[in-house]
Symmetry: C2
Subunit: 229 residues, 2 copies
C-alpha cells in the first residue's frame, strides 16, 4: 500500500548547494519526511551553487525544490554580494566580510512562510557553530530565538501544531558532517562550497569555505571530490 | 550649519502605502530620523498600493524609498496573493483568509538586513493590536520577539549598538491613528487601504480594511478622503 502523503511529515529544508545543507537534506529525508527544498538566488557571486542545489535536490529525491529570487543584492554590505569587496584569502578575527546581513533570518522567514502554507511543521537549516566562520546567525541561541518567533508569528504557531527549527549540524565538526553524509549516500561531488568559484563551479581553494571543506575531508580521511581551478 | 548626515539617526520604515504605515513614516520623520522607506511587491492583488507608497514616501520626504520584489506569491495560502480565493466582504472569527503566512516576519527580516547595511538602529512597523484584523504577526509579543531575534542575528546586534523595533500604533484606535497623522501633516488621500481596489486605486468599501478605515474616519470626525468605486 503506498504511503499516504497526507500522513507524511513535511519538512522545509534550506539548501544552498554546499556541503552542509546537502547533509541536512539527507538527514531530513532519512527521518522519513517529505522534503521541500528551498534555495535563494540573492545576488551571490557564487551563483553556480544554484546549479549544485538543483543537482543535490534531485539526487536526494526532494519532493519539491524551489529557487526563489531574493532582491537584496542591491543592499551590498557583504563580499558575497558586492563584487567591489574582495573575497578574503586568509582567516580573520571576528565576524568576516563574507557575512551577509541578516541572511539566515531572511532565509528562515521565507522557509517559515512556505512551511505554513504546506502544513509542514519542521524547518531544517545547516547552521554550524563549530567549524564555522563566525556568523552571528549560525549560533544555537539564534536558532532557538527564531523558533520562538515562528510560533508567535503564524497561524500554525497560534492555532495549530507549531514549528520546530532544526539545525542538526550545529555541534558537529566538518569531518563528522562529511562522515554522516557519506553514510546517508550524499555525493559531495555535486556540491559547491567555494565563495569564489569559476563559472564551471571549480573552487578557488583559498577562501574560508574552501579551507574548512578541505580540512574536513582531510580529517574525515576520505577522498576530497572537490575540483579546484 | 547643515545637519551632519553621519550624526543623524537612521530609521528603516516599512511602508505599504496604507493609512497606518503612512502615519508611522510621519512619526519616524517627526523624531528627526533620516527615514529609509521599504515597500514590498509580493504578488499582492492590491498592487496599486505600491504607487500609493511612492506618493507617500515622496510627500513625507523619505531619504530613500525602495520597492523590493519579493518572490512569495507562488506559495499562495492567502486571499491577498491567491486570486482564486475571494476577498471576504464580512468579518470572520479567528485569523482571516487575508492573513499572508509569515508576512511581517519576512518584511521585518529584510528591513533588518537593510538597517544593518545602513547603520540604522531603528525599524518601524505599523502593526496594530486594537482595530486590527486578527493577524498573529501584529501582536506586541511578536514585535518583542523579533527585536530579540534581531539582536542575536546580526553583526550590529552582537558587536554594535543593536536594534529597536518600534510599532508606535500598536495600542492606538484607528481614529487616534488618523488624528495623529493629521497633526503631522499626512495626506491620507495619497494612501490606499482596500484589499481589492480597482486599477485606479478606488476602494471597494466592503473588505475588512475598508470597513476599519471608514470607521476610523467617522470616529475621528474628519472627512474621509477615500475614493470609492
Amino acid at each position: 500500500m503506498p504511503a499516504d502523503i497526507n500522513n507524511t511529515q513535511k519538512s522545509v529544508v534550506l539548501l544552498s548547494g554546499g556541503l552542509d545543507s546537502a547533509t541536512v537534506l539527507a538527514l531530513a529525508a532519512a527521518s522519513g519526511a517529505a522534503c521541500y527544498a528551498l534555495t535563494f538566488d540573492y545576488g551571490q557571486r557564487h551563483r553556480v551553487e544554484l546549479q549544485a542545489a538543483r543537482r543535490v535536490a534531485q539526487a536526494l529525491a526532494a519532493t519539491e525544490h524551489r529557487v526563489v529570487n531574493l532582491d537584496i543584492g542591491w543592499m551590498g554590505g557583504s563580499a558575497l554580494t558586492d563584487k567591489s569587496i574582495p573575497i578574503p584569502q586568509t582567516s580573520s578575527i571576528g565576524i568576516p566580510i563574507t557575512y551577509v546581513p541578516a541572511r539566515n533570518t531572511v532565509f528562515l522567514s521565507i522557509a517559515l512562510a512556505w512551511a505554513e502554507v504546506l502544513g509542514a511543521t519542521e524547518i531544517y537549516i545547516g547552521a554550524n557553530a563549530v567549524d564555522y566562520s563566525g556568523y552571528p546567525d549560525c549560533r544555537p541561541e539564534f536558532i532557538r530565538s527564531f523558533e520562538q518567533l515562528a510560533n508567535l508569528a503564524t497561524r500554525s504557531g497560534v492555532e495549530g501544531s507549531g514549528f520546530h527549527v532544526y539545525a542538526p549540524l550545529m555541534h558537529l565538526h566538518k569531518h563528522e558532517i562529511i562522515r554522516t553524509g557519506l553514510r546517508l549516500g550524499v555525493d559531495y561531488a555535486l556540491t559547491v562550497s567555494c565563495y569564489a568559484p569559476d563559472a564551471a563551479g571549480k573552487a578557488c581553494g583559498h577562501c574560508d569555505a574552501c579551507r574548512l571543506r578541505a580540512q574536513g575531508f582531510s580529517e574525515a580521511e576520505v577522498v576530497d571530490p572537490t575540483i579546484y581551478r
